[in-house]
Symmetry: C2
């Protein structure tokens, strides 16, 4: 029977004494994870064979995070809070594991790590050990939605988590190293996007332990007044908890947190009772503690606790006398006072932690797939663009997608589980239709002329930061909701690393049966390399596809819908999937529309296919195959085919369009890949292929490397040529235009004789004519800009 | 004869009136650049044929930047300042061009854009026009060292520019949109790294025009007190200049700037006379002006000036009646009062701008190659590691490079033109030797225990921000100095986009004869995918090579030195080059050392070569070729070869190592590429090749796509498998270990019969033994960890 504990405000000294013991237990488990192979309760004297051969992990950040954890436990119990904890400092994941173990979460999820001596031994051994668990917070860590590898995204993730979760608190430890990164620095502004009525609370706890790996930290050395000013300027009210004496600090922290929670409740009560969403000044905590707190004071004559030398393992096992130091340190926690003989935490201490799903490790928001509910989707066919004949009408793909997105907002208005994210580009990317029913999120001062701003908006395009868009969306998805991020293609590279880390997170989650699947990360590239009339060279980079193509095949998908109806079908698919990173290359400019909805559905379902209406090889072997992926390359490939078919009607041409890029890969390398037989039936084994590609040509070469006819494939694509010029001229500069394509085809069709040579010369003339025309007029040749496919 | 102008403090009203005229001239030229094909002085009524068919560019940010420019001109003349201007807002490059034209810089550099009506007509037509110049500040813009495409790096660039330039002021307009990006947000901390004695001044001018593309800005809507607090917290003293009445604003700006310059001079005088480098509180300016100031007030019933609708072109030419609006607007500047009949700026206005190199467009710091001086380099051969026999001794490559870097600091101590950059990783990357002679840069509070911190340090590793490291280095290089950025390979992806933009900048500079060459951007990846014992999966990403491989071949280089002596030779080469982005993959962990200095010099000069001592095909055709690139793959390839040569001595093996990755490309695709004949002489046309690669295998497939034996090449490399484990186990997980390599070779040597099958089985057994051993012990098999090449 668990002893009842007194749990009151202010906390009693007796309660704080018990919390200190719990903290000692967490520190003990954290330290032992670094070192011990065996003898987990130190019942025997420590001998070298009980120590890991290679000791890798971090200590410096650990004790303060254990301190936060035990105080969060108190708050959860005392106020019955729905609270998750994000660990920004990254390394020191042993702290989170230790606390998960103490409250039983860890053993429930990993029964082999049992609540006894044997389990504790395994807990210690597995940490940062081959076949074991990472040294930082990771997908393997119950309760974590934040990987502690790359730094800077904790507040963005936390903020994404609490959007539309009015009862959730995301306590977020921010390291003072992490605080120096760009993404974290701008994250402090996130309070301008939080609605105190409909969103939850981000509670930042900036831990100033003063040091990074080998340097002091900027925030650790700013003056008290500078800290106060900085956070006031960012719109937060900082509460300081500073010191190193444990019991003094427990008192200070408990009292401060009581004040902070009272302030949060006061803010929420006012906002919700008065229906006043005005941005409040939210509280935050600045926790200044020694780095490596409670760890070894001095080793080899050097100060460790309170110094940067505490960052990783505080005692290297490179000298025999260090064994005693280690033993003394570990014994200083007096595990025998905290665990019973069998290795079980004493019930009076266990009672300090919450129960069931209130445990930080078991909170369903931190295993968001548990809360995942299907997004209600309208029938995308209802938004079909009536194309008339193939290529007869021009229209704008993303603009046509807008009403479909708008209606997703409508259909899920009750669930409030859908947001879209864009760095000030919603209109530029042509999603204006969403404003029929939804606003932009904005909780700063507003004016009458502002366009669709509201503290309740769920269109997240009011902050010019790709990092925040990506981080918010990740946090939103990780807690079981839905959305997408639309951005300029070139600037997707700003979040290369974030997206890669998310892909890695998903890959690991796929190997953890207890991690429930979440909605895919949908990244839509809307302002692409091919039309940058006034932005030019700096806005041209289609390499995000290359970047993602290197990631685990089970996780990544790349789609290049060539028109509106294909974009609709693709988005519908992407929004239904789970645990993928879907990259969608979409067009926003007026373009011919090729496929009816019926054709588009079939085409997108196959992912790759022959367009019969553009081909003339029906029933025969083609002389040449034209393939394409991406809307501009498709347009030019069709224009090239129309020239060839008109000028050389006897030529048999097959026209292939690729929507799902990984169809090109062998089946053995990607679940979507075609078998060689399937591939050869499309591309032939022995006919020349002209492949007009949206991105860098090398990517298609990579994907088709093992195919039979790879030597016969000529790939055109972006080759880093561009400046301010017309849409057609940038195609010409990169050889993806119709005239170059026809030339490329002719070079591979030597048997055409004079007729080929004549057409080749004609194409050269066209290229000269084009250059002269745009030089004089600044616009494209009418025969190009007004070109129509004739069915 | 130019009229003398009164230039006094405070500025006279007469002088401010003239400045206002100059500003009107700049605004006029900026607006006309957006619209006009002809009729530059509006001598005739405006007709549709005089208007560009497609009007693309930005207006919103322009007038305030013109305002800043004219006031900077005043300061330069009044105080004889050495001042450059960085334009953070990005778009609106027409403002910089307008001012360059007004002071004559533009015509000096581009004589066809002459100082007369004909030149003005060309000036207008070329802007954002095919074959013309980009719409944002760009390499083409005289005086700019900052591309206005991707936002967020202006302060970092400015700060890099003023390091070790004590007399330079980098005035930096920060847009309130840009201010929301992560990199810019953390840039405010840069004052902690500026030495008031030996560095110059970053003078931020935060322009609050209140709007981005379609949204208000966060900084634009923060309260006055929040702005004051924020910048006080960041360590700046903000001076506010707010309003919209031109003459009132000129008075306010001039007086404020006089105060700011006085404050800067006071800070510098104190620091330099007292030799007191203590971080001062530097002044900055907050300039609040209407977006699209002086532009059209209302168009189609919508407010334009002071609204987000002023962002791009304020009057679309989609309605006939807009022609009159445009005409009224352009006439409102009264060009006839500013330019003479021939189109030349009136001398009394021209006299407001500085002369010669003091002009912002002609300041040599903004064309840094002018100031570039060779770095003095020690003879790298003096730092040779004595390898004994091939592979006999272990050592750490980057640690061995340290003394060479240290001595670069020594040799250039007078020139003060060398810095190294790293996000808190200098020690982790093993460059401790530099601390013999140089300190870390740190100008915050310091303690006795801090390790080599000084306000005069030139080791820039005290801020944990890849963005700042990259931005600082770019600014340092762009102003004619030298350095490199060493970082964890995986986290180089954080600056993917920045490095790509720099590569694009260099590519364009190479086409501009007036842009003098600068030192290459050297990016060293020191903590690589292959040894992440306690960081694991999140720290594994070798894709920066793939990223750079897509950039212009004339600009990018990738080197994979396999040992210390090769790293020394490679660094020496990279530090001598100009206008490249050099990516260097370097090892920091203890590894066998393969090549003597003499061998290394030859090998690195060739970039690729056969290692005779590892091969046994001398004088004969090989049965198989082993190739490798990168230190870990080289180690495992050699180990595999040693197994094969021992077990199957009759097998003829050729061993090739690649240092310069682009040797693999055809000569036609990269200046370093081998001809097919050269390539075939190394790799053969018809023998199997096992290529063990540092990065993703696809990159080698890409590079060798067109080679004769591409189908016979089997590439092993990183395939996104990794977690906490031993160095050897992560190789096994990715199939780049010796046992997998031998198996791969045997699969391609079917004629070995039973002997091959026997060895294949033996390799399988080894892999099982390995797994069991690390599971039990947590370390690698002694036969692996203690393996030595036997010469």
């Amino acid at each position: 029977m668990t002893e009842m504990v007194t749990n009151e405000v202010p906390a009693s000294n007796a309660y704080l004494e018990k919390m200190n013991k719990f903290w000692r237990a967490a520190n003990y488990l954290s330290a032992c994870q670094l070192y011990l192979l065996d003898n987990p309760l130190l019942k025997k004297p420590l001998t070298p064979d009980m120590i890991k051969k290679k000791i890798v992990g971090h200590w410096g950040t650990v004790p303060a995070q254990n301190f936060v954890f035990v105080h969060m436990n108190r708050l959860i119990k005392l106020y019955d809070l729905d609270l998750i904890l994000l660990s920004g400092p990254g390394h020191g994941g042993n702290f989170f594991i230790a606390n998960d173990y103490l409250d039983g979460s860890y053993s429930e999820i990993y029964p082999n790590i049992s609540q006894d001596e044997a389990g504790m031994q395994k807990l210690f051994k597995q940490f940062s050990f081959p076949g074991g668990v990472p040294s930082h917070c990771a997908p393997e860590t119950p309760g974590s939605i934040h990987e502690g590898g790359e730094l800077g995204y904790s507040i963005a993730h936390a903020c994404g988590a609490i959007f539309d979760n009015p009862d959730l608190i995301a306590a977020t430890v921010v390291g003072d190293g992490e605080a120096e990164t760009g993404p974290l620095a701008t994250s402090w502004q996130c309070n301008k996007f939080i609605n105190p009525i409909t969103d939850g609370v981000v509670l930042p706890i900036l831990n100033l332990n003063g040091y990074k790996i080998a340097n002091p930290t900027i925030f650790g050395r700013m003056s008290h007044q500078e800290l106060v000013d900085f956070f006031h300027g960012c719109g937060w009210e900082p509460y300081f908890v500073e010191g190193d004496d444990p019991m003094t600090m427990h008192r200070l922290m408990a009292d401060t947190m009581d004040t902070v929670i009272a302030r949060i409740k006061e803010i929420q009560a006012h906002a919700r009772q008065q229906n006043d969403a005005t941005r409040p000044v939210w509280p935050m905590v600045i926790l200044r503690t020694p780095k490596g707190w409670t760890g070894p004071k001095v080793v080899d004559g050097k100060r460790i606790e309170g110094n940067f030398l505490a960052h990783q393992v505080p005692i290297a096992m490179d000298k025999p006398e260090h064994l005693q130091l280690l033993s003394d340190w570990l014994h200083s926690y007096h595990a025998e006072e905290l665990f019973d003989e069998t290795g079980k935490l004493l019930p009076e201490l266990r009672a300090l932690a919450p129960e069931g799903d209130r445990r930080i490790g078991m909170n369903p928001h931190a295993n968001g797939g548990i809360l995942y509910r299907e997004l209600r989707l309208p029938d995308f066919r209802d938004y079909a663009f009536d194309i008339g004949n193939h290529g007869e009408k021009d229209s704008q793909d993303t603009q046509n997608l807008g009403p479909y997105i708008r209606d997703i907002f409508k259909l899920n208005d009750d669930a409030k589980n859908f947001r879209i994210f864009s760095p000030d580009e919603n209109n530029s990317n042509r999603f204006q239709a969403v404003f029929d029913v939804e606003n932009r999120d904005w909780n700063v001062q507003a004016t009458a002329e502002d366009d669709h701003l509201s503290p309740s908006g769920r269109v997240m395009d009011s902050m010019l930061s790709e990092h925040m868009c990506e981080g918010w969306l990740e946090g939103y998805l990780l807690t079981g909701r839905h959305g997408f991020f639309d951005t300029y293609e070139a600037f997707s590279r700003i979040v290369d690393s974030m997206a890669a880390q998310h892909a890695k997170w998903l890959k690991v989650c796929n190997q953890l049966p207890w991690r429930h699947s979440i909605a895919s990360l949908n990244l839509m590239m809307c302002s692409t390399v091919w039309q940058q009339d006034h932005n030019g060279f700096t806005h041209q980079d289609p390499g995000f596809m290359d970047h993602m193509a290197n990631k685990n095949a089970d996780v990544v998908r790349i789609f290049l819908p060539p028109d509106t109806n294909c974009l609709l079908a693709t988005m519908d698919t992407c929004l239904r999937t789970q645990n993928f990173v879907n990259v969608i290359i979409a067009s926003k400019h007026p373009r011919p529309q090729w496929l009816s909805m019926e054709e588009a559905v079939k085409h997108c379902t196959q992912g790759i296919g022959i367009w019969d209406w553009a081909s003339n090889d029906q029933g025969q072997d083609p002389d040449i195959v034209f393939a394409c992926a991406g809307e501009t390359p498709t347009l030019e490939a069709l224009a090239a085919v129309s020239i060839l078919r008109k000028e050389l009607p006897e030529l048999k041409i097959r026209f292939i369009n690729v929507v799902d890029l990984f169809k090109l890969l062998p089946q053995t390398e990607h679940p979507h890949g075609l078998t060689d037989v399937e591939y050869d039936m499309l591309f032939t084994k022995d006919k020349p292929v002209i492949f007009n590609f949206h991105g860098y040509p090398k990517l298609v070469h990579e994907l088709t490397y093992h195919r039979h006819n790879n030597r016969l494939m000529h790939v055109c694509g972006y080759r880093e040529e561009g400046t301010i010029t017309t849409p057609f001229d940038v195609r010409v500069q990169n050889n993806v235009d119709r005239f170059h394509l026809v030339r490329s085809a002719l070079k591979r069709l030597p048997n055409l004789g004079n007729r080929g040579a004549y057409l080749f010369q004609k194409m050269n003339d066209k290229l000269v004519e084009h250059k002269q025309y745009i030089h004089d007029k600044g616009v494209d040749l009418p025969e190009v800009s007004q070109w129509k496919w004739e069915d």
